[in-house]
Amino acid sequence: MSGSQFIELFVGGLAIGCIYSLIALGFTMIIRATGVLHFAQGEVVMLGAMFGVTAHHLLPLPFIALLVVGMVFGGLAAVAIELGVYRTLRVRRVPLMNIIIATVGMSILLQNTGQLVWGSEPIAYPKLFATDVYSIGSARVAPQLVWIIVLGILVMVLLQLFLAFTRTGRAMQAAAQSPETAQLMGINLTRITAYTYGIGGVLGGGAGVLLGSLFYASFSMGFLPAIKAFVAATLGGLGSIGGAMAGGILFGLIETFAAISISTSYKDAVGMILLILILLAWPEGLAGLFRQGR
């Protein structure tokens, strides 16, 4: 493999990895706070992409604005689902498994609603960049990829800052670690759970716009990336923010490199096999590897 080839693959893998990371972060935050495997996360991604491209059709907006639109609507959608549906179920004290299954139902509902609203045909994201190609040495990479990496990392950094330095962010951390104690401290769990879903939605919606700009937007676009992101989050260790970020990027890189070395048709399997191997060695994922004294 030549140096330029390597760089091109690396950039590609890193870009898709950033997208997986954003989705994985949503998964991990929700599961950390509530124990729920949010099967509908992929549909939140789809909604972000759809709202983004719809916004562009209404007004010619710069890419950053589309990203913001996707994030905002992704967040709103997620909060609406949580407050409208999941919370209603929790109030009825159904077991956790039921809520998880309900997210599967929500996934079906949203996917098919998406199909009704936006049709079955994939919708192309507009060409967003003047130059066709950036050059890094002799390697040629699409600017799209570079922007995805930059924006993806930016969002992740902002998330870390939010969690560490804002009151709400710290409250979310507290609630995730010990709900009862958090409540005793006066933290409103309903609000915090809504925020958690909201942030998951913001991250997912953003990932949707990035993903859409890379390929296209369609009602079924979210499902497979979400499964992969979920696998990546598990790889990194569910409940670990760093693990989700690392897992997503790792998954993206491995998938991209595997596609050329192993046959393309089995590239999805590589990630799965890697996951199973890692879990066998470290039953709590990579995060368990770094955790001392457990």
Binding site: I31, P95, G105, G239
Partner: protein, 343 residues
């Protein structure tokens, strides 16, 4: 596993009535479509029962059952279509191969909760990819055609009705088998593992051994269901065995009621038949289906089986024994509670 509040006599009467209805059905409604779809529901009921053994009675979240459906289906199909092996042997082989394949999951049994689920999901994805890509064996995306009808000895079970009755027989056999397994030493060991693993170990139960056995038994049963599927459809396509199918089987168990054998059957029927009933709604079909799934989840861990039981109790004016009425922590929580922060 929730003990039914009904006296044994009522339960047995209900079971016999249901069985008679099912036997008579294809003769009362001989439309090919009806018989076909109910057969399919029964095939999935067998797979759902297998998952119930894992999920509802051992506490193992497996989102990979479609892998065993696929292995069983393709094994049975290839062996009969290409090698002209009689159906009975193909059927058994399908189950055995699925069982052997499940041994690959033995090292995974040490995983817990969601992690186990993800690993089994990964397994399902891998098997699907193999089915899709190994065209020389499975025909790949072109599918496998000309799968013969099942046969028993000299009789070929041609036609929907004969096939239906075969599926019914296997379903009844599966239900009876699991019904016998649960109160046995083996069944108790599984339930002990689900309810409190440490206490099970401290009582001398080798958890890894029994969990592996549960996986194998479930895989064999699911393999049998796969075989029935192949000879029912006469055509196989890898898309019938994606991880989404694994999720569907999980939905069946969840909707029917985790921990109830009858519930697994009810759930299978609901998940298989409901989309058909909803066809009248045209493009809103799946949207409504999704909404109904969510609504079903509001029923609590007893699922539809529990709901029907509660209604029947009301109608028959049976008072619930005060002990049994409250089931504090459903085992569904024991399965799904993410122990990702500790082993």
């Amino acid at each position: 596993m929730f003990k039914s509040e009904f006296p044994s006599a009522y339960l047995w009467t209900a079971r016999i009535v249901v069985l008679v209805i099912f036997i008579v059905l294809p003769f009362v409604y001989p439309q090919k479509y009806v018989v076909h779809i109910v057969s399919l529901a029964m095939i999935f009921a067998i797979a759902a029962l297998a998952l119930q053994l894992l999920l509802g009675f051992t506490g193992l979240l497996s989102i990979g059952q479609a892998a065993f459906l696929g292995i069983g289906a393709y094994t049975s199909a290839i062996v009969t279509a290409t090698y002209k092996v009689p159906f009975e042997i193909a059927f058994i082989t399908a189950g055995m191969l699925a069982g052997i394949a499940s041994l690959a999951l033995v090292p995974i049994t040490r995983l817990r909760g969601v992690y186990l689920g993800v690993a089994t999901l990964g397994f399902s994805i891998i098997v699907h990819l193999v089915l899709l890509n190994e065209e020389w064996l499975t025909g790949g995306s072109f599918g496998l055609l000309n799968i013969p009808s099942p046969s028993l000895g000299p009789w070929i079970l041609k036609g929907e009705t004969a096939n239906y009755l075969l599926c019914l027989a296997v379903l009844v056999a599966t239900f009876t088998t699991l019904h016998r397994l649960l109160p046995s030493r083996f069944g108790r060991a599984l339930q002990a593992i689900m309810l409190d693993e440490d206490a099970a170990r401290a009582s001398g139960i080798n958890v890894t051994y029994y969990e592996s056995q549960a996986f194998v038994v479930a895989a064999v049963i699911t393999g049998f269901a796969g075989s029935l599927f192949a000879h029912h459809a006469h055509y196989l396509n890898p898309n019938d065995f994606t991880f989404w199918k694994s999720i569907e089987v999980l939905l069946m168990v969840a909707v029917g009621g985790i921990g109830s054998l009858a519930g697994a059957i009810v759930g299978a029927f609901v998940i298989t038949l409901l989309p058909e009933y909803l066809r009248v709604l045209d493009e809103y079909r799946m949207v409504i289906f999704g909404a109904m799934l969510i609504a079903f989840m509001g029923l609590g861990h007893r699922g539809l089986a529990g709901l029907s039981a509660a209604i029947a109790m009301r109608l028959l004016r049976l008072r619930p024994q005060s002990d049994m009425a409250s089931s504090p922590t459903p085992q569904a929580d024991a399965v799904a509670a993410p122990r990702w922060s500790r082993r």
